[in-house]
């Protein structure tokens, strides 16, 4: 813990350097969305705000990010002038951003609903009936207020309470949208999460939540991976072409949030935040990032998933790599051609793209956990990469040694196993190690397909604490530790196979 703190202290000056804004001689003022012309605007990718900005503020430089916190942090850091964001979200997070301010102008009010697969009208109608009854019986506004409270004690229903269930629903949500869908004490919670859970209970069904990026919600529903998708999703004509929506249950408007230095004078209040001690604030931040709502559990679970995916993908990928290597060196042109084509294809495809193709298309209609899809996708990639490493290593060993072994009376397979393979391992390991490190880091994109790995855990924490610093540093440290430990393990194998250290016949 002490070392971590030291590391953090070492990084602090960097953070402050970034937040030192340059003071311009004449103050620029942004008093409406139109003043943004020619400036950078940051929006949540795929959100209604994204669509709104694209259609109405096309002369801005539009930046797209995956979480609202990222957008706000960018404005703090002067990387963008403003963001257009949901008023509900802004109301939630405004306390965490002293140096930002929202304009009063309400932009583009939109109805919010849950989305369903086009063909699933029955489910949608049943849900609408439930939703309307629920709105009548409950006060939505007070429900939102209750979930907004950081000390909220409201309990989520437990799927295990459903006795003799008739089945199970899968709900796709984006867990960085408090108070509607977010992670609390390691479980998916929030207003929409509660409504969905209660709907499932009313149907005597159990349920599971899938945490996906916002831009992937509709794909999940469309491909049948989830029965219902929700996360304050606005009902727009474009979306309605892909999915059907439930009846709208609240309305969301957007607000323009800007840095205070661009704010019109009337919005600036004179009160100044009291400075707290640096160490205290670090302690507070750490507490927020790790302890509150048991957020360390998120990190630990993410760590477990990252390690699991990395190790399994490395294991299967290595086996696949060996097979591919064998095939690509095969005498039969059809076999070697096929293997080479596959390798070339895999090596040219960005891993994120492959991951999403696997999840939404190849296994689109199959109910399979995203983590297994990730294992398969990364195994394929890793197999293709390592097969090339293996092949160059095998080829770098003089054919003469195989001939010598054959001429002594070894069979082809035994010659390979006894003579060639040990030398191949020796030569391949240093490069293999680098590839393996690359694999561990590459797994950080699995968040795209609803897997909560270490990176995603960091994102979730950031969306709750509205701080970029500690979650990112913690994630960095944890990645460093994983890779460090795994590299030591490989190093051990490397020294073990060094001929100097080894007597062939014990």
């Amino acid at each position: 813990m002490k070392t971590i703190l030291k590391l953090i202290l070492a990084f602090l000056p960097l953070l402050f350097m970034g937040s030192c804004a340059k003071e311009s001689a004449e103050r620029e003022v942004i008093s409406s969305a139109r003043d943004l012309t020619g400036k950078s605007v940051v929006v949540l990718s795929g959100s209604v705000q994204d669509i709104y900005v694209s259609n109405n503020l096309s002369d801005c430089n539009i930046l797209r990010v995956d979480t609202e916190v990222d957008a706000l942090t960018m404005i703090q850091g002067d990387k963008a002038c403003g963001t257009i964001t949901s008023d509900i979200v802004w109301a939630m997070v405004r306390d965490g951003f002293d140096d930002l301010v929202s304009l009063d102008e309400k932009i583009n009010p939109m109805p919010i609903g849950m989305c369903f697969k086009k063909s699933d009208t029955q489910l949608r109608e049943r849900f609408n009936a439930f939703l309307n009854k629920y709105i009548e019986e409950n006060d939505i506004d007070s429900l939102i207020e209750e979930w907004k409270n950081p000390d909220c004690v409201r309990e989520m229903p437990d799927p295990d309470d459903v006795q003799n269930p008739e089945g199970s629903y899968s709900f796709a949500v984006c867990c960085i949208s408090p108070p509607f869908t977010f992670i609390r004490n390691g479980e998916v919670s929030g207003v929409e999460a509660e409504i969905l859970a209660k709907f499932a209970m009313s149907e005597n069904m159990r349920w599971t939540f899938m945490d996906v990026v916002f831009s992937g919600l509709i794909n999940c529903v469309q491909s049948g991976k989830a029965d219902i998708g929700a996360s304050i999703m606005c009902i727009t004509p474009e979306r309605q072409q892909s999915v059907d929506f439930s009846d709208p249950w609240i309305e969301e408007s957007s607000v323009l949030v800007i840095n205070k230095k661009f704010a019109p004078a009337e919005l600036l209040s004179e009160e100044e935040a009291t400075e707290s001690g640096m160490l205290e604030s670090i302690e507070d931040s750490l507490e927020k990032s790790l302890v509150r709502e048991k957020r360390y559990l998120l990190l630990l679970k993410g760590l477990e998933i990252s390690v699991l995916i990395s190790l399994l993908a490395a294991l299967f990928g290595t086996i696949l790599g060996a097979i591919l290597c064998f095939c690509s060196m095969h005498r039969n042109k059809l076999v070697s051609g096929g293997a080479n084509l596959f390798i070339a294809f895999m090596r040219c495809m960005p891993q994120v793209v492959l991951l999403m193709i696997m999840f939404y298309i190849v296994f689109g209609s199959l109910n399979i956990d995203g983590k297994w899809v990730a294992v398969i996708a990364f195994s394929l990639c890793f197999g293709a990469y390592t097969s090339v490493i293996f092949r160059t290593s095998v080829e770098s060993i003089d054919k003469g040694q195989t001939e010598a072994a054959l001429s002594m009376g070894f069979g082809k397979v035994r010659a390979f196993l006894t003579i060639i393979l040990p030398q191949t391992i020796q030569r391949a390991l240093p490069v293999y190690k680098g590839e393996f490190i690359g694999l561990v880091k590459a797994t950080s994109v699995v968040g795209y397909i609803a897997v909560s790995d270490l990176t995603k855990a960091g994102d979730i924490i950031r969306s709750r604490t509205y701080e970029a610093f500690f979650p990112l540093i913690l994630v960095t440290v944890l990645y460093f530790l994983i890779i460090w430990v795994l590299t030591i393990a490989l190093k051990y194998v490397e020294t073990k196979t060094q001929p100097k250290r080894k007597k062939f016949f014990k």
């Binding site: 060993i397 003089d398 003469g400 040694q401 001939e403 010598a404 072994a405 054959l406 001429s407 002594m408 009376g409 070894f410 069979g411 035994r414 006894t418 003579i419 040990p422 030398q423 020796q426 001929p499 100097k500 007597k503 062939f504 016949f505």
Partner: protein, 364 residues
């Protein structure tokens, strides 16, 4: 006993027929050297015998087993037929001792103890006991080849095929390997040796195969082949292998390559140091005079020949006629003095439109 009938080998990729029709019969205990120009299928012939290359047609019987029959278990055959390669092909990840133990343990079912005992004995035989724990990369070429021979012997073969065992070695290491092979030759193992070491071939072999044009062109005792070859090709070959040729284009010729090749030639024929020194002096001084007389000299052929029968060495220069003279006896110089001191006869003459200089001395 090995019997070879109508052996043909055509390579798929370049459609070149290396072996056209090879026939031979080899009895147990024979030591056969296979000589001939490069690229005439000597190595391919050896590799067909232990099945590393598959013949296109024809038959090879080893102790009555047809190794060209696809049903034959080549692993069993290869245990009896060892091979020593040009490039040693030691197992790089194993120590020297492990190299000579891996076969007996894995293939002959020997216990570790027996294998080690045999291994150490064989290493002692090839003079490599002190390097038993070393790894192949720590050895010189000659040492590697000696270990490779020990590894081959560790399988207790009845027949050993040597595929140019000294071609990849520095001249200084050739002798040590040849002496090891001589030692093996005394053990009564049947041996087939592809080699360019004519002196060695002559003294170690019971029979010589001269291979050319894809067949065994001439087959006879060493004396027959070297002293009294019957066939035209054999004659040309035997004459040529006793000569060292170097083509000098002009004054900027690669003298390093010339003298390195010359030294190689001398070592190959086992010439004594004083003879080598004489040849060197004659070569250097004659070339010196040639280029100082006429710096624009072009197209000179340099040749050194050695005759074992007449115990005579000749250093020759040959040029087209626009060269007026190589050595002008009228202008004395230190170089000319040295030439006179080191050789018995100086002969410069015009013949067949060439100007020829021959410096001869006796090695007796």
């Amino acid at each position: 006993m090995i019997r070879i009938e109508h052996l043909k080998k055509k390579f798929q990729d370049n459609n070149f027929e290396v072996l056209k029709d090879v026939n031979a019969e080899i009895t147990d205990g024979e030591i056969i050297s296979i000589i001939g120009p490069s690229g005439t299928g000597k190595s391919t012939f050896l590799r067909c015998i232990n099945g590393l290359n598959t013949p296109t047609s024809g038959h090879i019987w080893i102790d009555g087993v047809d190794v060209t029959d696809p049903k034959t278990d080549m692993r069993a055959v290869r245990k009896k037929v060892g091979m020593v390669f040009q490039n040693f092909n030691l197992f790089d990840h194993l120590s020297v001792l492990d190299n000579v133990m891996v076969g007996p343990i894995k293939l002959l079912g020997m216990s570790r103890k027996e294998a080690e005992e045999q291994g150490r004995r064989l290493l002692a035989q090839v003079g490599m006991s002190s390097k038993a724990e070393a790894f192949p990369r720590e050895l010189s070429g000659g040492q590697k080849q000696r270990v490779a021979i020990a590894r081959c012997l560790s399988m207790q073969p009845k027949i050993i095929l040597f595929d140019e065992p000294t071609s990849a070695l520095d001249p200084t290491m050739v002798t040590e390997v040849l002496s090891v092979i001589r030692g093996v030759a005394k053990q009564g193992i049947t041996m087939l040796i592809v080699t360019h070491e004519m002196k060695f071939a002559r003294e170690v072999s019971t029979r010589i195969f001269y291979m050319d044009k894809g067949i065994i062109y001439e087959d006879g005792t060493p004396d027959q082949i070297f002293e009294n070859p019957q066939n035209t090709f054999t004659k040309v070959f035997i004459r040529r292998i006793r000569a060292y040729d170097f083509q000098i284009e002009d004054g900027n010729y690669d003298s390093i390559a010339l003298f390195a090749g010359l030294e190689n030639f001398c070592v190959r024929y086992g010439l004594k140091d004083d003879v080598i020194a004489k040849i060197d002096t004659l070569a250097r001084n004659s070339l010196d005079i040639c280029f100082s007389n006429n710096p624009a000299s072009k197209g000179i052929r340099f040749r050194v020949t050695y005759s074992e029968v007449h115990h005579e060495v000749k250093v020759k220069l040959r040029s087209t006629t626009d060269q007026r003279t190589f050595i002008c006896p009228d202008t004395p110089s230190p170089a000319l003095e040295q030439i006179k001191q080191n050789c018995d006869r100086i002969n410069e003459r015009l013949e067949d439109e060439y100007l020829k200089l021959t410096l001869t001395f006796s090695t007796k």
